[in-house]
């Protein structure tokens, strides 16, 4: 086929230009911003004050930023294990031919289509309420008085309350990704395994799991990206001013970029940009590690 260079250029140019404007320019600008002290995100460049790596140095020596990073690490690692395990379990169950698959799939996915504000309000004001909460009533009905009296929203428990509420909402999303992977596996493989005498566990261990490596990588990447951008739930779980126990880096970035709480606080969009860069590097690092550890090209079907 004859190549028409003019046509190639004509079709590629809009995409390239849009990519440069929408992706490359913000990346370069953010990297530049991280080296300056900037009062407002939209300040003209002549108002920027060069601080070199000062923003990064300050971040790594600030205790509350380390707390925020530790909190997000816990959300990523512990929440990741919980969400991946539960979502895989539900995906396997729902793809095993049970009745009412569509109904259960919709129910489990439902939290994803409800506003996070409504969900967080439900958890905070109803489920975890010390006065009439769902958990309190549930444990009282079971006669577990000490559990019923647990102050779910005090400083010692609030992080776990947040994590549980967040995971509850995320299971459905990741379950769908697992399901799409499982449904791509040829039924013939399972039939052959059944003829060979493999039981359900063996089929899961030796067929489903190995063939889900690629999907696992997708799920981990999606989970990492959403963890790095974790913000709304922390913001909703800490009214007006941030809580130390639920503070995450993006919330900390917001505080420094737009101001915190009701007080008029110092703002530094460059500091916020530095946090964004650190988070991006974390995502890239995890993605790279995943790529090294999980090679999905070692299977031949």
């Amino acid at each position: 086929m004859k190549k028409n260079k003019g046509m190639i250029v004509a079709f590629l140019t809009p995409a390239v230009v849009i990519f440069l404007i929408v992706f490359l320019y913000p990346i370069i600008r953010t990297v530049m911003m991280s080296l300056y002290k900037i009062d407002s995100v939209t300040d003209a460049m002549d108002l920027w004050e060069f601080v070199g790596l000062g923003n990064f140095q300050k971040l790594f020596s600030t205790a509350i930023f380390k707390t925020a990073m530790y909190n997000i690490l816990k959300i990523w690692a512990i929440g990741g294990v919980i969400v991946m395990t539960l979502s895989l379990l539900f995906a396997v169950i729902l793809t095993s031919g049970i009745r009412g698959k569509k109904f259960f799939r919709a129910i489990i996915y439902l939290p994803n289509i409800v506003s996070a504000v409504a969900l967080a309000t439900m958890w905070l004001q109803y489920v975890y309420s010390s006065k009439f909460g769902l958990l309190k009533s549930f444990f009282e009905a079971l006669g577990l008085k000490s559990l019923a009296a647990t102050p779910w929203l005090d400083t010692a428990h609030k992080f776990w309350a947040l994590l549980f509420a967040y995971c509850f909402g995320m299971v459905g999303y990741h379950m769908l990704i697992w399901m799409s992977g499982i449904e791509r596996i040829s039924p013939e493989l399972y039939e052959a395994a059944t003829i060979d005498g493999a039981n359900i566990v063996q089929k899961f261990r030796y067929i489903t799991l190995p063939l889900l490596k690629g999907v696992f990588k997708t799920n981990i990447t999606m989970w990492t990206v959403s963890s790095a951008a974790f913000f709304v739930w922390s913001q909703l779980f800490s009214n007006v001013t941030a809580d130390k126990s639920t503070l995450v880096p993006v919330q900390y970035m917001y505080m420094h970029t737009f101001g915190a709480g009701n007080a008029v606080t110092d703002r530094n969009a460059g500091y916020g940009a530095a946090i964004g860069i650190i988070l991006s590097l974390c995502v890239v690092l995890i993605f790279t590690i995943c790529n090294k550890l999980l090679k999905d090209d070692d299977l031949e079907l």
Binding site: T42, A63, K131, D154, T155, T241, G261, A263
Partner: protein
Amino acid sequence: MKKRVLSVLLCTVMVAAMIVGCGKKSDDGGSSESGGKTLVYWSMWSEEEPQAKVIKAAIAKFEEENDIKVDVQFKGRNGQREGLQPALDAKQTIDIFDEDVNRVNGTWGKYLLDLEDLAADYEATHGVESLMAIARNAYGQTHDGDETLHSIPYQPSIFGMFYNKTLFDKAGVEGAPETWEEFDEACAKLLDAGITPITADDAYMTPYIGIHLAKYLGQDGVKSLVMGEEVNGVSVTWDDPKVLAAAESFADFAKKGYFSKNITTNAYPAGQNQEFAPGEAAIVICGSWLPNEAKESVADDLVWGYFNYPTVPEGTDDNTANNIANQVFAINKDSKMPEEAFKLIEYLVTGDTDKAFVSDAMCIPADKENADNWPVELEGVKAGFDATTKYYDWAAGVENNNDLTPALKENTIKLAGGELDGAQFVKAMKEAAGQ
């Protein structure tokens, strides 16, 4: 051939639509299609709030009475905080905007029009002296003491202690406490009567400790304490004996069981709406917006009372030092219709609109001519409001350090819950401050 013609036609339509869609909005000084003028107002309220409804109704009336259209955009607090400055920097047409007095005059001070001349008549006839002074001071704080008027106050508020007079009567507490000793006695009587004396929400725990510390240290002392630097010649560290005294008096109340057992778990608005309003707790620390927020859950027999945060022993400030704040309207210095913009502002902060704020949103009047027209629920607030002679910033400045506030909030909740005593609180805060 037909296909080619159709393709060309469709492409033309698409390109035309794109050009129309992406075209620059007419920038002819706010003229509307009807030939009249259009003011653009970015509001800090969300559309369903009572204040927004009052503003919408007033604007509709204003448009009827004047040949001026108003494009009001309800952005909400976060929308305003995130979007206003970028929009102003991008030279978007915005004539009027509003927000907290300190944020408007401080953070957005460089975009404000000088209102001295425009507002001279308004100030003489309608301006409440204390509110005008706060508005001027808010600009001066961030502009080398230049107290030129750049904003017009409305919906003033005071932060202090609201109480249930019915429960006070039941416990035999006479009158509102003015000193720490009287406060202590009142709480003891309430506790003896089986009533939870004090509750609070997590959202107000830092203002609570901020005002408490300010009584001991003064506002500059509080700011110095949290910022770790000298403020207006005052320097205070966490080792200061007055800081310990403040923490110990707070911890003493916790030890005596004056705080609600739910104070460590009260996620706003649980404390105010589920404990105070139904009559389970006698006192709640909050702003004068409380009656409006809690109106759906107020007990039938609740009679509203209020007192300023009490005077503490050997403190720097007494109970006449309080956080009185307000929202303010400001005009963009680039507005092409400043007179019209001020006309609208004046319409919104005086006369019937001010009365509507009082009746529909339970606000304190901002018009001197409505000075006696306070909502019934806030009648008890008037004495404390009028007695205030020293004006604190929000939380007396205790939230001014982004890096310290989360730890302060956590440790204050622990202090109120009895998990920390005074010395442990100070130690924890010293560590958090890196001292």
